[in-house]
Structure formats: C-alpha cells, structure tokens
C-alpha cells in the first residue's frame, strides 16, 4: 500500500476508535473516586500478613502466579535476545583483522567518580531488593538498579574491565537458576516475600546485564587493524 493509503486507513480506524473510546469512558467511575473493593481487600490481607508494602504482598503473595508469568516473560525475552544476537563470533571472523574493545580516553575525574559510585549503587540495589516487603522497592526495581550498576564501569571508560567481570555463561546460568527458584517458590511456598524478592532481584539483574552485554558486543566491536 502507498503511504497515503496507509495513512487514510489509519485515520479512519483511529477516528472511529477515538469516538468509541470517548463514548465508553464517559461511563467510567469518577476520576479519583473511592470505590476500589479489590484494593481494599488486598490492603487488609497485607496488613494481616505483616507485609507493610501492600504492592509486594500482591505481587509475591496474593497474586504470585501473575508474577511467575511475568518472570518467565523476562527470562524468555532476555535469553531470546541473546540467541538472536549470537552471530557476532562469525562476523568477527568474516571481517579480516584483529578486533578488540579498547578502553576509552576519559577524564580522570569521570573515571574516579564512576569507580566510587559503583559500590554505593550496588549496595543501594541490594538494599532495595532486601527491603522490598517493607518499603517501596522489591526485586524488580532493585534488580534493574543492580543490573545497571555494574555498567558504571563502562561509563567510567573501561569496557574491557566490564567484559571481564561479567562472563556471559555465568549470568545466563544465574538467571535461569534464579528463575527456577522463583517457579518453585511461587507454586509451592507463595508468601515468602523476602526470598521471592531475592530470586527476582537476581534474575532481573542477570537479564539486564545479559541483554546489554550482547548489545554492547554488537555496537562496540572495533577492528583495530586490517
């Protein structure tokens, strides 16, 4: 179809959808209303189970099966992204010459800041994961923080060091083991919020590191000589 034909079809569909959407949402309860029965039930359940963070209670206790599904989506996408991007070795052989990822030339101030921030961020990430049942946070959020934290090494200019501290097979296995632990916890022992947070945090962290690792390999591959 021509771009104009495509646009016309979309405009007709979009206009119709907009009309239906407006007509439908008029009948929604008032914005900011007080009628949330399911929410109120979960709040009282969370309080009864001594989990101050109601959202964590929902995710890991009352509706743990949902979170299991989401976990597995995460694992599947991360592993799939790794598999889809797997051609790098063959490409390295195809283009002649040596390849390396060199450290970048950066200001000393940047390098020192990065190295100083790294342990602080890691500890913050572990804190967010561990206190997921008590205060805002949890495995998903903390896992992202952990996964991104080690990339401060790259931001400080030293990609080869990053590549050394995150061997891909270890993180693949780590991710899978954490996901397996979560499957067992969710189906057999739902309610162990702290343990589940830890499993999720490990899994999300490993997934983020893995995916970024493969993308880095694609983007930063440098041919040094020909």
């Amino acid at each position: 179809m021509s771009p104009r034909g495509r646009l016309i079809v979309f405009l007709l569909g979009g206009a119709g959808f907009a009309v239906l959407f407006v007509l439908g949402t008029v009948h929604l309860p008032d914005f900011g209303g007080t009628w949330h029965p399911y929410g109120e039930r979960t709040v009282s359940n969370a309080v009864a189970r001594h989990t101050p963070n109601v959202i964590s209670s929902i995710n890991f206790d009352q509706r743990a099966f949902d979170t299991l599904g989401e976990e597995l989506i995460l694992m599947a996408s991360a592993l799939a992204a790794v598999v889809v991007l797997r051609g790098v070795r063959a490409e390295q052989e195809e283009t002649a010459g040596a390849h390396e990822y060199g450290p970048a030339e950066v200001f000393d101030a940047l390098r020192i800041t990065g190295y100083l921030l790294l342990p602080i961020t890691l500890v913050a990430g572990v804190y967010i994961v561990a206190h997921g049942s008590l205060s805002p946070g949890g495995g998903f959020q903390g896992g992202i923080v952990l996964g991104s934290a080690i990339h401060l090494v790259y931001l400080a200019g030293d990609y080869p060091a990053l590549a050394r501290i995150r061997p891909i097979p270890v993180f693949e296995s780590g991710e899978a083991v954490a996901a397996g632990a979560f499957v067992l916890l969710a189906l057999a022992a739902a309610g162990q919020v702290t343990a589940m947070n830890a499993a999720v945090g490990a899994e999300v962290g490993c997934a983020v590191v893995l995916v970024l690792a493969k993308f880095f390999e694609q983007a930063l591959l440098v041919r040094t000589s020909s």
């Binding site: 646009l7 979309f10 914005f31 929410g39 979960t42 949902d66 493969k214 993308f215």
Partner: protein, 114 residues
C-alpha cells in the same frame, strides 16, 4: 471534566500507533510500540487513583484504608519491567534485520511473499 484524565491514555495510544504506521525506521517503530504500551500504564494508574490518598506502603504510617488502589500499581510494576525486555528482544531482531538486509526502512524492505 474529571473524565478528561481517562482520555489521555487513549490519546497516547493513538499517537503511538500513528508513529508505527508512518514510521520510516524500524527502531522508531519499536519505540513507538513502547509509547503505545505506556498508554496502558497510564490508564491503569488513572483508574486506580483516589483523591487525597497516599501510597499503599505502610513503612512509615499506620495502616489505613485511605490509599490508592494497590492492585493496578502491582499490575503496572511488573508490566514495565517486562515491557523493557520485550522491547530489547524486538530491538535485537531489528539489529539483525539491519545487518541482513542493510536497511531499517520498512518501505525498502521487500515483501516476504515470493
């Protein structure tokens, strides 16, 4: 007028879909897809809002019923992380398309029908 808040997610969704329809770059299309996804988050959170209520975390306050709906927050939270990894997968596929076909312009990719 309070229902204006519900129209915003609809608008975001249309913007995202418009972006995909008129896209000239597959990376742009994948990012527009995540824009469309964020419309669902906004819709969920707008539905869960309660006026003059606080966050459903009782680490520093006494347990009370006057909190926003935690269910939609839980749904949105897991969806965000999942959305990020699915976007990663689609971008990985886009990278491979760029390498194998030499272009990321949907107009220049030939049809899959022989």
């Amino acid at each position: 007028m309070s229902h204006l808040a519900y129209l915003i997610p609809g608008w975001i969704l249309l913007v995202g879909v418009y972006g995909i329809v008129t896209s000239r770059n597959l990376v742009h299309a994948v990012v527009c897809l995540s824009v469309a996804q964020s419309a669902t988050y906004v819709l969920l959170l707008v539905i869960g809002y309660r006026r003059h209520a606080t966050a459903p975390v009782f680490s520093d306050i006494k347990p009370t019923g006057d909190v926003v709906d935690p269910i939609v927050q839980a749904l949105t939270l897991t969806d965000i992380v999942v959305g990020a990894t699915v976007t990663a997968l689609l971008l990985a596929l886009t990278v491979q398309v760029a390498k194998r076909r030499g272009t990321v312009d949907p107009d220049r990719l030939r049809s899959l029908e022989p």
